[in-house]
């Protein structure tokens, strides 16, 4: 088993507060790994640490054998890490195509002062790549629409297309189905699986239990900044500690392992 991503003893302290405390886990290459936990458990902090927006107070983050703990976000993007954001951070005043094209920034080889045919050809190629990505997430009809006019679900898909435009090896999804209904989240689930089928490793943070159980190969559970457990998607729900973390100690029997419908 090749590990693509490895967190080893990673901690992040903000003054006296330990947002992330001695977290270690591995994500196998080609897997879809779920990262779950109650609100405030530190999931987004972990994602921020992996994507370079925060530097760990302690511990190391390794990507394919290379220590990337100190790298800034743009270097991590170049190394193949892409992400979406819990709060959806699309570029406003821009169309769907423009948003996705910015994702292609890294793959532009031509120098800026190159004129004429070479540049025009490269522009055309990149436009084509962007178009295919937009088709993939089902937004062909709105490719030239300003993102402000799109529905919430479509905006989330734009963000995924934009992240995919960087041709990542590791895709970090921070609550991509927040606020979605069942049909929409099922679609996202299918999208994630098809992305994974192409060889992209995925770290999925989400509260949607159905989605996580259906789609993930492994699940890491965080609580109070620490790793509670790591297990397969069905076993993880049978763990008493996980139930307690989500529901408190009184209603332990209320959660049953969700019928994954497999």
């Amino acid at each position: 088993m090749t590990a693509l991503l490895e967190l080893s003893g990673v901690s992040k302290h903000f003054g006296g507060m330990k947002a992330v405390d001695d977290v270690s886990f591995t994500v196998r290459q080609g897997a879809i790994c779920g990262l779950i936990g109650p609100n405030g458990a530190g999931k987004t902090t972990v994602v921020n640490l992996i994507s370079g927006y925060l530097k760990p107070t302690a511990g190391t983050i390794t990507l394919d054998g290379t220590n990337v703990s100190e790298l800034r976000p743009h270097r991590l993007a170049a190394a193949g890490v892409a992400r979406t954001y819990q709060n959806l951070q699309l570029f406003e005043e821009s169309t769907v195509l423009e948003n996705v094209l910015i994702g292609r920034h890294l793959s532009f080889k031509g120098r800026r002062w190159q004129m004429g045919r070479t540049r025009r050809r490269e522009e055309a190629e990149q436009h084509e790549v962007a178009r295919r990505l937009i088709d993939r997430v089902g937004l062909t009809d709105v490719i030239d629409a300003d993102v402000a006019e799109l529905s919430y679900g479509m905006r989330r898909r734009v963000e995924i297309a934009r992240a995919m435009a960087t041709e990542p090896r590791l895709l970090l999804l921070d609550e991509p189905t927040a606020g979605m209904n069942r049909t929409e989240s099922d679609e996202i689930g299918e999208l994630i699986q098809s992305i994974n089928a192409e060889g992209v490793t995925v770290l999925l943070v989400d509260h949607n239990v159905r989605l996580v159980t259906e789609v993930c190969h492994r699940v890491v559970v965080l609580d109070w900044g620490r790793v509670l457990t790591e297990a397969g998607p069905t076993e993880v729900w049978q763990d008493e500690r996980v139930k307690t973390a989500y529901l408190g100690s009184h209603d332990r029997h209320a959660v049953e392992a969700p019928d994954a419908g497999r």
Binding site: E92, L106, W113, D146, T166
Partner: protein
């Protein structure tokens, strides 16, 4: 080539062209989201460098111009790292402090003739040169605008952190913008020195800054043609009204700036301005924009 024009008109034309260069400089920084109040400081560097070289050495005009541009750029590059790390109001203050420090240093230094300024700078600048210089600037701007660099600049302006997550080296983008804007402002300062033949520390204060900012803000961040065309249009208007040089001009610009900000806080090229306008023209009553929804069946069939 332009001898058929009256000397005064020619002078005003040249001044307008040089002002356009300054507008380009500020526009470049605004395009990447840098809110810097420093341009007049760099113009001062450029103006004084060219003036000193012209009056105290035997070097040709081209050398002075080059030195002015390069020195302004170098100073910009030197102060870019600390200034660019600041955000919002701190950046505005830091850049203002830098510009004012430059002007004050000029004012108190004997080398630059102190508050009296430098006079007797030879007139070397012909209108043709200015037009060529601007044309070059426009070509470069347009190339940049249409390239991935232009897209990256817009991304950096809109949302730095997200842009960085997509692989854009935000610091380098801003550094290049800040430094080249400094160089351009220095060049404009040098050209102005050689056109007006007299410079003094007082001309690099708020007054010109406000005018340039008016043009850039009103012209918008979308395309460089906005501020440039606006500069030309308003300069012509100003000449037609023949209030150039009077007190009222400054007051009008100050008021205009405030009014524009009230009407369009994000500049006139802000799309949301026009969306609101379009909606009202179509007579819609609902305040929310129509969202585009895909029918469910279409999606399920993918």
């Amino acid at each position: 080539m332009f001898d058929w024009l009256e000397p005064l008109t020619l002078f005003r034309l040249d001044t307008a062209l040089i002002l356009t260069l300054l507008v380009v400089s500020v526009h470049v920084t605004f395009r990447v989201g840098i809110m810097s109040l420093a341009p007049m400081g760099f113009a001062a560097v450029g103006g004084y460098t060219a003036a000193i070289i012209a009056t105290k050495t035997e070097l040709p005009f081209a050398a002075g111009l080059l030195a002015a541009t390069v020195l302004a750029g170098v100073i910009g590059a030197l102060f870019a790292p600390p200034v660019l790390r600041l955000r919002g109001i701190y950046m505005a203050l830091g850049s203002l402090a830098l510009a004012q420090a430059i002007v004050v240093l000029i004012r108190i230094s004997d080398f630059t003739n102190g508050p009296n300024g430098i006079a007797g700078i030879p007139v070397e600048v012909k209108t043709e040169y200015l037009i060529v210089a601007l044309a070059v600037a426009f070509v470069v701007l347009e190339l940049g605008h249409r390239s991935h660099f232009g897209r990256a600049a817009k991304a950096v302006r809109l949302d730095e952190r997200t842009a960085e997550g997509l692989g854009i080296n935000v610091f380098r983008v801003r550094f290049v913008a800040f430094t080249s804007a400094a160089a351009i402002a220095g060049c404009a300062g040098a050209l102005e020195a050689h056109r007006t033949t007299v410079i003094s520390p007082d001309q690099y204060g708020f007054a010109t800054l406000v005018i340039v900012f008016t043009y850039v803000l009103v012209g918008g961040n979308g395309h460089w043609a906005g501020p440039v065309l606006l500069t030309w249009g308003l300069t012509i208007l100003r000449d037609l009204l023949q209030v150039a040089g009077s007190h009222w001009e400054d007051i009008i610009y100050g008021v205009l700036l405030v009014v524009v900000l009230l009407v369009a806080p994000n500049g006139l090229s802000d799309r949301s301005l026009y969306r609101g306008l379009r909606r009202r023209l179509r007579g819609r009553t609902s305040p929310t924009p129509p969202t585009i929804e895909e029918p469910a069946e279409k999606v399920a069939s993918r």
